[in-house]
């Protein structure tokens, strides 16, 4: 089925089976492999992407359903090759990851939080990432990263890159 997708600000035309998930389409048809398949039943959050401003499970959404929507994946977050967003840099500063498998989804969930809430409390950060399971870190350094990014972003006079 011919489907037009707008991803990270760029249009792509793909030919997908109607049953194909957005996750599989991103990974297989567009080779955007930063979204990961963890459980494929909507619990772990490793496949998180941002659709029309909201973090969604790309394993639970069909590719054809995303037509007409703005999709942002982890590949659309870094401002330039070799350059990190404030949030991505904060994850590096606190080591808010270990194996890196949940990290793209975690960063997108936090990215959506910080767009709407420049001064999140610990509870608000916990709530925002609670749909993303990390098996490595126990979340401590992830929460620290998001709080650090919020502090640094408040200190800037321009918003972080890419606001979907």
């Amino acid at each position: 089925m011919r489907t037009e997708l707008k991803i990270n600000g760029k249009s792509h035309v793909v030919d997908v089976e109607p049953r194909k998930s957005l996750l599989d389409c991103l990974r297989e048809d567009l080779r955007l492999v930063g979204a990961h398949a963890g459980c494929e039943h909507g619990v772990c959050g490793a496949c998180t992407v941002i659709v029309d401003g909201t973090p969604v499970r790309s394993c639970l959404m069909l590719a054809v359903q995303a037509e007409g929507s703005e999709v942002v994946t982890i590949e659309g977050i870094a401002p330039a090759p070799g350059e990190l967003s404030i949030l991505q840099d904060a994850f590096c500063e606190t080591h808010g990851m270990q194996c890196g498998f949940c990290t793209p989804g975690m960063i997108l969930a936090a990215h959506a939080l910080l767009r709407d809430n420049q001064e999140p409390t610990r509870e608000e950060i916990v709530e925002a990432i609670s749909g993303n399971i990390c098996r490595c870190t126990g979340y401590d350094q992830i929460i620290e990263a998001v709080a650090l990014a919020a502090r640094r972003m408040r200190g800037r006079n321009a918003p972080d890159q890419v606001s979907a």
């Binding site: 089976e17 049953r19 194909k20 990974r27 080779r31 955007l32 492999v33 930063g34 979204a35 990961h36 398949a37 963890g38 459980c39 494929e40 039943h41 619990v43 772990c44 490793a46 994946t73 982890i74 590949e75 977050i77 870094a78 990190l84 991505q88 840099d89 994850f91 590096c92 500063e93 606190t94 080591h95 990851m97 270990q98 194996c99 890196g100 498998f101 949940c102 990290t103 793209p104 960063i107 610990r122 916990v126 709530e127 990432i129 609670s130 749909g131 993303n132 399971i133 990390c134 098996r135 490595c136 870190t137 126990g138 979340y139 401590d140 350094q141 992830i142 929460i143």
Partner: protein, 802 residues
């Protein structure tokens, strides 16, 4: 982290982790990200029966479907490959990637379908017809141990893989001499590490070069060896690509059956073939469950709470096949008395097969269940004597001046200061305030309790448990390696020889090499060799890489430094002893103007051979193969062995409340003290410890591979096998202490299993303290809300009746 003056330039300083940059932008190199030309995909047909004879597998309808390449059943595969290695001397417990003749657990893989896409393969798998004849089965470990239990492997004759009793010291004498004895039983439930990335593997056979290429999300010693063995290939025909990032493992990413299956298909079909488990494949058929262990314990002690002797029986239900799982009863022998001065121990280790999913190595390799039981014993002694639980621990601790300390089972602990860390944590937590808060919560009508666990993390893993449990096995050496090359333009590349699953090994190697050479770690490239370019490694298991890969990198760097200084001494015409190394520049001690820079020496070594010492090889490449400190010996005839060399220590204090009406536990305070010797990278160690506690919270409260009495696995998805989210993990306060190991190059010990070693024990201790007013104790993990709620309701009903 240490109050001690900084001895190091880069080690122990709070530096970034080099691997992180690629992960935050989604540029990891996970196995599912790798695409090979014309790659085909595997889906699996699984057994719905816990035990059944396989009468017939009919793939004819599946083969007619578009895009389907092949349907493979167990008989064809078994005829073509060697059975997978069996750790125990149980030759009739044969294991193949697909069931042969008989299915032995629900979810076991019966047939594999290969198609152009995974979706087509799944469609076709539904069309494979399997005819079964159900057989008697057994799911409970204690039932499986009974003489009349249906044997999972009839040819083996029973379900017993291992039943060995060890006696270290005068157990009967110590029991007879002790005025007090208690006994208890408890059970560690079946859970696992459950990484968010399932196991995946791609294989590709090049018939012209005769090379089998393998990309896998693997964390396993001897992986290429096992592939070669099962595939009947020379080992130099197997090329495992170790630059694959592994999306979490914590022990279980050992998909040898998956790998052999895919390798066979790739070679047979002459096409690249990949299997990426979906969550169901992984949970029920991925053979990655963890220990499920019944403990029966007797303790002999005196009126002051000093424990003299312990009898422990551990019966592990390892599931349908042996694998390496029985060895998880062996490793705890190296820390069988925990941090305590228990004089004698009797330990009976039993491993039984059952009609459940196969176990794999799980974080701490069996030590965490054992720690849960040792700590319960300490609590029981305190309760029996009405003593403070922490005081009883203090009275039994090995004291700092007693190291190196030989425990009854033959292992010597390297170093430790257990009372020191306990005192630090007690002071930080303000124990009086913790107890006051507990009492305040109780006054509010909640159940509330304080829990403790003081546990060891054996580290620097080797395989000493293998010859101890299986005398036919005489292997002991368990090295790891590093090679360093300085290229002609003077930049440094260090090579490591294993995969990583988030442990930050590239950072480890760069930090250690940087420390030795006095060069910024960020300037050092760390690469991962494939297995045709490889030095020996035994991969990151047993909390070993800081010790082993760190040690190998340190020695290789020192060899490089020595070579460069020797070249400089020759070129400058002075003795080596007259020279000093400063950030890569070599100069005279007395005459600093007499010097060669790093680049000068590089030029000599690479291009000016006439300036080199005679007989020295040109170029600047060094390497080191590191053996486990204190390791490499066989067990004595009386079953004593030096297990792991280094022993990290952790102390947990937990305050919990339980809502008595619904049984919901809640963390009110969580403090951990941690001592893993010299810390190489504080961010990495902190993360491992916090992650280990989170995993321990899961094992203690949430996670269980639960089976019904029909042998069906009830928890196959993340809807019912619950992993802790950010809501379930409290804010944890960490207290640090550094007691260096005398056995390692910087004093470092292991930390890869930290937190997980003690969290389940501490949580169990807190919950049992909370339940004491009701007169009940919980004797199993996990303590799910339903289990707690039911137990509390029953206790209250009984109380109301009286």
């Amino acid at each position: 982290m240490s109050a001690a003056p900084r001895k190091f330039r880069y080690i122990s300083s709070d530096r970034r982790v080099l691997e992180d940059r690629r992960f935050v932008v989604g540029k990891g190199n996970f196995v599912a990200d790798i695409v090979r030309p014309n790659m085909k995909h595997v889906a699996l047909v699984f057994s719905p029966h816990p035990a059944a004879r396989i009468v017939k597998v009919d793939g004819s309808e599946a083969l007619k479907m578009p895009g389907v390449q092949y349907v493979l059943a167990g008989d064809e595969l078994a005829a073509a490959i060697q059975p997978m290695p069996n750790g125990m001397p149980t030759p009739e417990v044969k294991r193949y990637p697909l069931a042969v003749g008989q299915a032995r657990y629900v979810g076991e893989w019966i047939a594999a379908v290969v198609a152009d896409t995974r979706a087509l393969a799944e469609d076709a798998a539904e069309k494979v017809k399997v005819e079964y004849e159900p057989l008697p089965f057994v799911v409970d470990g204690k039932e499986a141990f009974k003489k009349d239990a249906p044997p999972v492997h009839p040819a083996h004759g029973s379900n017993i893989l291992l039943d060995k009793t060890f006696v270290w010291g005068d157990v009967e004498g110590d029991f007879a001499a002790s005025p007090r004895k208690i006994s208890f039983s408890q059970k560690w439930g079946r859970s696992s590490t459950v990484p968010i990335e399932t196991f995946g593997v791609i294989a590709e056979w090049d018939a012209w070069r005769e090379v089998l290429d393998v990309w896998a999300s693997i964390q396993m010693p001897k992986y290429a060896d096992q592939i070669a063995g099962s595939m009947r290939l020379p080992m130099n025909a197997v090329r495992v690509h170790q630059d694959v990032d592994v999306g979490g493992s914590y022990g279980v990413k050992r998909g040898i059956k998956q790998t052999v299956l895919v390798c066979y298909l790739a070679k047979k079909l002459n096409m690249p073939v990949r299997l990426i488990e979906d969550r169901l494949d992984n949970m029920r058929g991925g053979d990655a469950h963890g220990p499920e262990r019944n403990f029966d314990v007797e303790i002999a002690f005196d009126d002051s709470g000093i424990i003299r002797s312990m009898k422990m029986e551990a019966l592990d239900n390892v599931g349908a096949y042996a694998g390496r799982s029985p060895f998880q009863l062996g490793k705890p022998i190296g820390a069988i008395v925990g941090p305590y001065k228990i004089k004698s121990v009797q330990y009976r280790a039993i491993a039984v097969t059952s009609n459940k999913t196969v176990q794999e190595a799980v974080r701490a390799f069996g030590q965490s269940p054992t720690n849960y039981t040792i700590e319960r014993a300490l609590d029981e002694v305190a309760w029996a004597l009405n003593l403070d639980r922490l005081e009883v621990r203090r009275r039994n601790f090995i004291q700092p001046h007693e190291f190196p300390y030989l425990i009854p089972s033959g292992t010597t602990y390297d170093s430790g200061d257990y009372p020191g860390l306990v005192n630090k944590v007690a002071k930080h937590a303000d124990l009086d305030a913790v107890y006051a808060e507990r009492d305040r919560l109780r006054a509010e009508g909640l159940l509330a309790g304080v829990g403790f666990a003081s546990c060891l993390e054996p580290s620097g893993g080797n395989s000493a448990f293998e010859p101890l449990l299986n005398r036919q096995n005489k292997t002991t050496t368990w090295m790891d390696s590093c090679r360093i090359a300085v290229d002609a333009l003077g930049t440094i590349t260090a090579t490591m020889h294993t995969t990583s699953a988030g442990q930050g090994h590239e950072t480890l190697v760069a930090t250690v090499v940087g420390e030795a050479l006095e060069i910024a770690p960020e300037k050092i490239r760390v690469s991962r060799a494939h297995t045709l370019d490889v030095m020996p490694s035994n991969s990151p298991v047993g909390s070993r890489m800081a010790i082993m890969l760190g040690g190998a990198a340190f020695h290789a760097a020192n060899k490089l430094k020595h070579k460069m200084m020797t070249i400089a001494a020759h070129d400058l015409g002075v003795s080596l002893d007259d020279l000093v190394w400063n950030e890569g520049t070599v100069s005279g001690k007395k005459n600093p103007d007499q010097k060669l820079t790093w680049n000068d020496i590089v030029l000599i070594a690479h291009r000016h051979y006439y300036r080199m010492p005679e007989d020295m090889e040109p170029g600047l490449t060094t390497q080191h193969v590191m053996q486990v400190p204190n390791g490499g010996k066989l067990p004595t005839d009386d079953d004593r062995i030096q297990m792991y060399p280094c022993f990290s220590f952790e102390f947990h204090v937990v305050l919990m409340s339980i809502d008595p009406d619904i049984g919901k536990p809640e963390f009110r305070r969580y403090v951990i003290g941690h001592d893993c010797g010299t810390v190489i990278n504080p961010k990495i160690v902190h993360g491992m410890t916090m992650g280990g506690i989170a995993h321990g919270i899961g094992a203690a409260l949430l996670e269980e591979f639960a089976y019904d009495d029909q042998g069906q696995l009830l928890t196959q998805s993340f809807m019912d096998y619950l992993l802790p989210s950010a809501h379930e993990v409290p804010k944890i306060e960490a207290v640090h202490q550094v007691t260096p190991s005398p056995l390692t190059v910087f004093g470092q010990k292991g930390s890869g299993e930290s937190g997980y070693l003690g969290a389940p024990a501490a949580i169990s201790s807190a919950i049992n303290d909370a339940l004491r007013p009701l007169g009940i104790k919980m004797n199993s993990l996990p303590l799910k809300i339903t289990k707690l709620g039911d137990a509390i309701a029953a206790a209250r009903a009984k109380e109301a009746k009286q």
